[in-house]
């Protein structure tokens, strides 16, 4: 049987609802807050009457046409009823023994047990805000008035009969019923306790330092708040969250910015509102003046993903992914009860994030569900539940879900994953950062995290070795993030690939600045030639902002690598009118300020292994402050001799007859001075020695002379060899870096000659 609302009640609300109607005045300006002894009496009554016995149910609305409202009994494990409804503007929720919906211009109250319509409230021009109830006593708040001047209406109903209604000049929030009292937040700061029978205001409190938008009852305690929650205890008389039983979670940016409690002055969410799919869920715990959250968990729903977060700090517990959107959630002791868009219920354990229970409600596709689980505890699984995969792997799986709607949630999973700095995580980040099919949010988050990784260098090197290929269908690697990671990890083995990528047109222009910065950060002296080629070739041909920036960074990198040896190239570029003006100014500034100090951004020394013994009895020596190189390396020698490469080559090629190569043995003293040069064959010795003696090497910490060997090959029209092979082609230019065979990764950089310390 479907009972129609009583006509007298509709008429009362439509015609007669007005301030003052419903008995003694309430919500009036003159009512004194915290008036004693009434206030203490009310607090005592609230604490006494708050415990409830509620039927654990799920009520929801299907995503079908027509939509169907249903109720599911959690304990019995069966659907109680289902009703087709039209024009539902608010998802159903449970209030006492009723199910409340907003259908067209009526707020409909149905029996939770049968689904029969008990009564309806005229809601023309009004929006349903909230409702609560104990057994057959139900309080409903509506929003009336305009958006600019919102006002509230409170309606009390018992069974199928209306008790009274009251319009208030300020908006009303979500009420709660305790015993024979209706507790209503209003005007964002106040909470009024009204006698349910008479409508008379019994007590009022005002909070000075927080917003009050909802009141609710949980396990014998009454709470109110919005950004945080107050428990009603005698201390609430302070009117301040500082001196009351109060809890607010740690503020943190979450996609969709869900509120701790939804705005209780807004209309209840529509069935298709994102609120059902993007929200937080929690349950208060603690006693007396202490409020915590159940299982120390703040659940965050983002469509298919359920994150468990630490309420009081920025901690993260786990992520759980459903196959369908989560459209309803309730925190329960021991876990979270979720309802998904496929009409299934599942229980996810708070401790592990493992799913321990699931049932299909048989409703078909769901739009929204409200779970009032009460004391319901899912039955224990019949067989042991397998341990879920490690949290990092679950985060990776969540971040990799193929659902573009989840972009922000997937990005959040990336951020939590990146908190674990392991090689495996770096590998995951490389995968996610490389996936060009992923939403930008996910890629950006992964690339940012990758750039800050400090372990897993092999993953970075492997990715840097990849190239875009049309024929193979492979995309370009995420060069910028990889380069930053390489620099962060001091991966000198990355230099050859970085150079090759610098010369590869498939490298995105936006990736060039970090790539060049990485070469500088790695102090890849052997890369200076490639950087100079880039600087010269593109300084007048930079057609977009990224390219202009890349040329600027190239100049600074060259300065880092060569010091004042870069001045000639920088002057050339800075004085070329074809260089973009902003770039000219930048280079002029760079030249004026000079190269960065030799050790300002020197790569950190490799990490030493952790101590395996007890700390030494003596205090540790002061940190190393000597910036001098330990000895001359191939890269350093190449950098010093680079400015005279062409002259040396001509020394050999101009000889008659030209030898296939020349070999110079150079003795450099500890101060960097060239003390002796021996060249073979003798025919080229004067020329080569003259050139070499024009150079000065950096000072070393050796404390004695060092002998190095340098091989010079003449200018011939042959491709350069791998080592010491950067010879110009026949037209006097220099070959492209990409034309060089890759040096072995552990060679540090291509182009270095053989060197050996003097004995």
């Amino acid at each position: 049987m479907t009972a129609r609302p009583h006509a007298w009640f509709v008429a009362l609300l439509f015609v007669g609802a007005a301030p003052g109607c419903g008995g003694a005045a309430s919500f009036q300006p003159g009512f004194r807050e915290y008036r004693e002894p009434e206030f203490s009496e009310v607090v005592g009554a609230i604490q006494h009457d708050a415990p409830r016995e509620e039927r654990p149910v799920v009520v929801g609305i299907t995503a079908t046409t027509p939509a169907r409202v249903f109720a599911w009994d959690l304990v019995a494990g069966r659907k109680l009823w289902e009703r087709a409804v039209d024009d539902v503007t608010a998802a159903p929720f449970v209030a006492g023994d009723d199910v409340v919906t907003h259908e067209h211009d009526r707020v409909v109250l149905r029996s939770l047990a049968t689904g029969d319509e008990l009564t309806a409230i005229d809601a023309r021009g009004a929006k349903l805000v909230g409702a609560d109830g104990v057994h057959d006593l139900v309080a409903v708040t509506l929003s009336i008035g305009t958006d600019a001047n919102p006002q509230g209406r409170l309606v009390a109903v018992r069974g199928a009969s209306g008790l009274w209604a009251r319009d208030v000049e300020l908006p009303l929030g979500v009420p709660a019923v305790v015993g024979d009292m209706i507790i209503v937040p209003w005007g964002t700061l106040q909470v009024t306790v009204v006698d349910a029978t008479t409508g008379r205001e019994r007590a009022r409190l005002r909070i000075r330092d927080d917003v009050v938008a909802q009141v609710f009852v949980d396990r014998g305690a009454v709470y109110f708040g919005q950004h945080g929650i107050f428990r009603i205890t005698p201390s609430v008389q302070s009117g301040s969250k500082v001196h009351s039983a109060y809890f607010a979670p740690r503020a943190r940016p979450l996609p969709g910015q869900p509120l701790f409690l939804r705005d209780g002055y807004e209309a209840a969410p529509a069935p298709d509102s994102a609120h059902h799919r993007v929200r937080v869920a929690w349950r208060p715990a603690g006693e007396g003046e202490t409020i915590t959250l159940e299982d120390d968990s703040l659940y965050y729903v983002f469509y298919k993903l359920l994150f468990s977060l630490a309420p009081s700090d920025d901690g993260f517990h786990w992520v759980f992914a459903r196959g369908a959107d989560i459209v309803g959630v309730q925190a329960q002791p021991g876990g979270a009860l979720v309802a998904d868009a496929d009409g299934k219920l599942a229980f996810v354990a708070a401790a592990s994030g493992a799913q321990t229970w699931e049932v299909d409600m048989g409703t078909g596709p769901l739009a929204a569900a409200n779970v009032r689980a009460g004391a319901f505890v899912p039955p224990a699984p019949s067989s042991p539940v397998a341990d879920p995969p490690p949290v990092v792997d679950r985060l990776f799986a969540a971040a990799h879900l193929d659902d573009a709607r989840l972009g922000a949630g997937r990005a959040l999973a990336v951020q939590y994953m990146a908190r674990t700095d392991t090689a495996d995580v770096t590998g995951h980040l490389v995968t996610l950062c490389s996936d060009r099919e992923s939403p930008a949010q996910v890629r950006d988050a992964a690339c940012d995290a990758l750039a800050n990784s400090t372990t897993g260098g092999e993953h970075v090197l492997d990715a840097l070795a990849l190239r875009q290929s049309f024929l193979d269908g492979t995309p370009a690697p995420p060069v910028g993030a990889l380069a930053r990671a390489a620099a962060k990890m001091t991966l000198r083995r990355a230099v050859p690939d970085l150079l090759a990528l610098l010369a590869d047109p498939a490298t995105d222009a936006a990736d060039l600045p970090p790539l060049l910065s990485a070469l500088g950060g790695l102090h890849a002296v052997g890369a200076a030639r490639g950087v100079e080629e880039f600087l010269r070739l593109y300084h007048a041909d930079a057609t977009d902002a990224h390219s202009v920036e890349a040329v600027g960074v190239a100049a600074e990198t060259l300065q880092t690598l060569r010091g004042h040896g870069a001045d000639a190239a920088l002057h050339f570029v800075a004085e070329d009118p074809a260089t973009p003006p902003a770039l000219r100014d930048r280079l002029a500034h760079d030249l004026a300020t000079g190269p960065p100090s030799a050790h300002a951004d020197a790569p950190p020394p490799p990490a030493s292994p952790p101590p395996t013994h007890a700390p030494p009895a003596h205090p540790p020596p002061p940190p190393e402050t000597d910036a001098r190189a330990a000895q001359l390396t191939g890269e350093v020698i190449a950098g010093v001799l680079h400015p005279i490469d062409r002259q040396l080559q001509r020394c050999v090629s101009d000889a008659e007859p030209a030898p296939p190569s020349a070999r110079a043995v150079i003795v450099v003293d500890a101060s960097g001075e060239v003390s002796r040069v021996s060249v073979s064959p003798p025919a080229v010795a004067p020329c080569v020695e003259h050139q070499i003696r024009t150079r000065r090497f950096p000072e070393t910490r050796l404390g004695h002379p060092q002998q190095v060997t340098w091989v010079i090959r003449p200018v011939v029209a042959t491709p350069p060899p791998a080592a010491h092979g950067a010879h110009p082609p026949a037209d006097g230019g220099v070959p492209a870096p990409h034309a060089r065979p890759h040096a072995p990764r552990d060679a540090g950089a291509p182009g270095s000659g053989a060197s050996s310390p003097a004995r």
Binding site: D504, P505, L535, L537, Y538, A730, D731, G733, P735, H738
Partner: protein
């Protein structure tokens, strides 16, 4: 093969090539005026000086002068200037000049420009390399088939057919399978007649409008025996799809009336239309 090594190969071959290319005759030789001394003939040094300028007009004059005086010195000077960086329009002029100069010494700088960041420059460099027609050209062009820019890939494929690089057919087939239209054209121009079978093998997996380019080229080649062409048309007629019928109609219309191939294409079209289902839809594969 990695693009880098192929470009290095080109660099090698171009660098060692001995081409006895001569400078093209100047179409506008200077006319001596009886009352004024003849202008000084440009030298490598004077061209270098012009190229070293920062004034665009002077650089452009230097580029023109270099083009008019092809030789190792001027190529080297122009190559060095390119490497020192030029504004886009001057770079275009320089590549055009190197193309006209037809000197093997230009191979090094052109190989570098095949990996320039601007696709238009890469295309220009490919055209210039083709103009040099060195033995390493094919390798460079095959490498360019892998380019990220469709224009560059297309230019490379057509250039491969232009230089008759039959050795590049495997790469062209790969490019075709990846959907490069110009690869189909190049295959049609290069493939031995017997390879028509390989094209037929691709019909079930590739869009026929792509393959039609290859068949069209193949059927218009003089070196493909008439019997082979007839067999191709017959087999195509058996594949009764709207695209094939449209292709055969187009083929028939492009041939002389007396050409037996035209008659075969017409017959195949008519037979196909007679047996075609009324609602044959484009793209349907029998």
């Amino acid at each position: 093969m990695r693009r880098t090594s192929l470009v290095a190969l080109l660099w090698l071959s171009l660098g060692t090539l001995r081409v006895l290319a001569q400078a093209p005759p100047d179409p506008h030789p200077p006319v001596a005026h009886p009352s004024t001394p003849p202008p000084a003939r440009p030298t490598v040094a004077s061209i270098q000086a012009q190229l070293a300028s920062t004034d665009p007009a002077t650089i452009r004059a230097g580029i023109a002068a270099a083009a008019a005086l092809p030789g190792p010195g001027t190529v080297a000077a122009l190559g060095a200037r390119i490497r020192d960086g030029l504004a886009p329009e001057l770079l275009d002029d320089s590549i055009a000049a190197l193309t006209r100069m037809r000197r093997p010494e230009a191979g090094g700088v052109l190989a570098r420009l095949v990996t320039h960041r601007r696709a238009a420059v890469r295309q220009q460099a490919i055209a210039a390399i083709v103009a040099l027609h060195a033995t390493g050209t094919e390798a460079a062009l095959v490498a360019a088939l892998d380019d990220g820019d469709p224009g560059v890939r297309g230019a490379a494929a057509l250039a491969l057919s232009q230089v008759g690089a039959r050795g590049s057919l495997p790469a062209l087939y790969r490019a075709l399978s990846r959907g490069l239209p110009e690869a189909a054209t190049a295959i049609g121009r290069l493939a031995p007649p017997a390879q028509s079978e390989r094209l037929f093998a691709l019909v079930p997996t590739l869009d026929f409008t792509l393959l039609a380019r290859a068949f069209d080229e193949l059927l218009h080649r003089a070196d493909v025996p008439a019997a082979t062409k007839l067999a191709i048309v017959t087999r195509l007629g058996e594949r009764n799809t709207a695209e094939v019928r449209q292709f055969l109609q187009h083929l028939a219309g492009s041939l002389p009336v007396t050409d037996p191939l035209r008659q075969a294409a017409t017959r195949a079209t008519e037979a196909a239309e007679e047996s075609a289902p009324a609602a044959a839809t484009p793209g349907a594969t029998p």
